[in-house]
Amino acid sequence: MKNKVLMGLAVIAMVAVLSSCGKKPQAEIDAANAAIEAAKTAEAAVYVPAELAAVQDSLNAVVADITAKESKLFKNFKGETAKLANVLTLANTVAANAGTKKEEVKAEAANLLTGIKTVIEENVKLIPKLPRGKEGAAVIEQIKAEVATVDAAVVEAQGLFDKGSFMDALNKVKAAKEKAEGLNAEVKEVLTKARIKF
């Protein structure tokens, strides 16, 4: 009788073990989620949006696999745990890449901000040399107004840069630089036509 009871218990234990041996890897899910949040904080959505979307999709896929396994009688999350580790690594890489890209954009914006100041300074020096003749002087006032607008755009770009919005600063300063260079070319063309040295 004692043996029968023991055998019954063994069978129940076996079934219990088989049906619930795997525990949901919640800690790993939380870690992967935290890593993705860290990537978002590192502005991955701005600097490496495709990478961020990919890692988020990977996590969604693993979570769906885990939930699917949770529906089963016999669970084993080994494979998903390994995948979560990969997602974690990937998320960390995305955060690092966002940081690198941000630095690149920052450097480019800083260079352009320095470069445009040189163009603006040159424009300011060239404008008084413009001839007061027919080709040049009629547009001097407008050129001055446009130089002032470019100046304002650069100030705005510098403000965005100082705030850490490097991508916005880059876009603004790129447009300002194109405009400033256009004005510079216009002024130089007038000076060249008038045979004035600059």
Partner: protein, 371 residues
């Protein structure tokens, strides 16, 4: 006896195992299955929508798709907590299907929106560049207020920014910038054009005066001068045929008739040269004084005083001349008409006191001008 007992145990054990196996098989076979494929399909559709930038270009549908996917996952996890036989995944499947459908719609709409925006922005950028060119072409010398020029400059800058965003494929940002630029540029352009149209209401008078001046030059076989303010031209006629054409500079506020002393406006009307000043009599190389204000001008001035559109203390202007010292490229005079010294030398030589000088806004009408 002992063997029989062992066999009995083996049989019982086997039966129990078979029963357990059958129970498990039945449980698994007839328990509700989660809609794994549907959820996976929804997830892939969402991912596709994300790569198609639906989060930017089809925001609402994308948000709905995402919300349905989250609902599917939450419901699935919720159902997993129930006993295996009592789970119901219908809602999960429903949410997943909805999510997939919305995500597919979002991706499709986003793609279309991106294509449409690409075309729309290209057209808008071209159109606004054209307006900016028209402004430069038509209003460079037009006395628009500093505020209007500031708005035009700002509009051009925003146009440039939208071009940069457009080239980078940031269409949503480009659209915002272009809307701001359009507002500034079209508003300024319309304002300037309306101002110009208002000014050209006087065109029938100008045409009448110009025709009469040319006719008289033909009839009398004499010199006549027409000043076309808009095109900045001094046209010298002999026998009704244009003999010389020079560029002129005017008063800063050249649009409209001269109303009062010091308004830096160049008068409009039919005048005559009343005095010639040689190089030792004027600081502007040589000068031809015209009979401004004539009787018509004096009448108009008095009417304005009477109507109260001019203060009682206002004084009528005078000493309007065609003189030298021009060629500065800007409108700088107090209301006079400036030629270069070499040009005034020629005009000075051929005209005499009594030579007609007709000053008009334009020789051509506005439609011709705008074409």
């Amino acid at each position: 006896m002992r063997i029989k007992k062992v066999w009995k145990r083996v049989i019982i054990f086997t039966v129990i195992l078979v029963l357990i196996f059958l129970a498990v098989v039945l449980l698994v076979r007839f328990t509700p299955q989660p809609p794994k494929e549907k959820v996976a399909y929804a997830r892939i559709a969402l991912s596709e929508a994300t790569s198609n930038k639906a989060d930017t270009y089809s925001k609402n549908l994308y948000r709905e798709a995402k919300a349905f996917y989250d609902s599917a996952m939450i419901n699935w996890q919720e159902e997993n907590r129930h006993f295996i036989y009592f789970r119901n995944y219908e809602k999960v499947a429903g949410f997943a299907e909805l999510s997939a459908r919305k995500a597919e719609q979002a991706a499709k709409i986003s793609k279309n929106n991106v294509t449409d925006l690409h075309i729309y922005l290209k057209q808008k950028i071209d159109n606004l560049n054209n307006i900016a060119d028209q402004i430069d072409k038509r209003f460079t010398s037009y006395p628009l207020s500093a505020e209007v020029w500031k708005r035009i400059s700002k509009g051009k800058m925003l146009l440039k920014e939208s071009e940069v965003a457009y080239r980078k494929g940031q269409y949503a940002e480009a659209k915002i910038k272009i809307a701001d630029s359009e507002l500034l540029l079209t508003e300024s352009y319309e304002k300037a054009t309306n101002h110009l149209k208002e000014y050209f209401n006087s065109y029938p008078d100008w045409k009448k005066w110009a025709d009469r001046t040319i006719r008289e030059s033909r009839q009398n076989q004499s010199y006549s001068i027409i000043i076309d303010k808009y095109s900045r031209k001094c046209l010298v006629y002999l026998g009704g045929i244009k003999k010389y054409e020079y560029h002129v500079e005017l008063g800063k506020n050249w649009v409209g008739d001269k109303r009062v002393k010091g308004d830096k406006a160049t008068p409009e009307g039919m005048y005559k040269i009343v005095k010639k000043f040689g190089s030792n009599k004027t600081k502007y190389h040589k000068a031809l004084l015209i009979d401004y204000p004539n009787e018509t001008d004096k009448e108009e001035f008095k009417e304005e005083i009477a109507r109260g559109t001019l203060p009682r203390t206002a004084k009528i202007g005078n000493l309007i001349e065609i003189h030298g010292d021009g060629g500065r490229g800007i409108d700088w005079t107090e209301g006079c008409i400036a030629l270069t010294d070499s040009e005034i030398d020629i005009v000075f030589k051929i005209v005499k006191e009594g030579t007609p000088v007709t000053i008009i806004g334009s020789m051509v009408n506005l439609d011709q001008l705008l074409d």
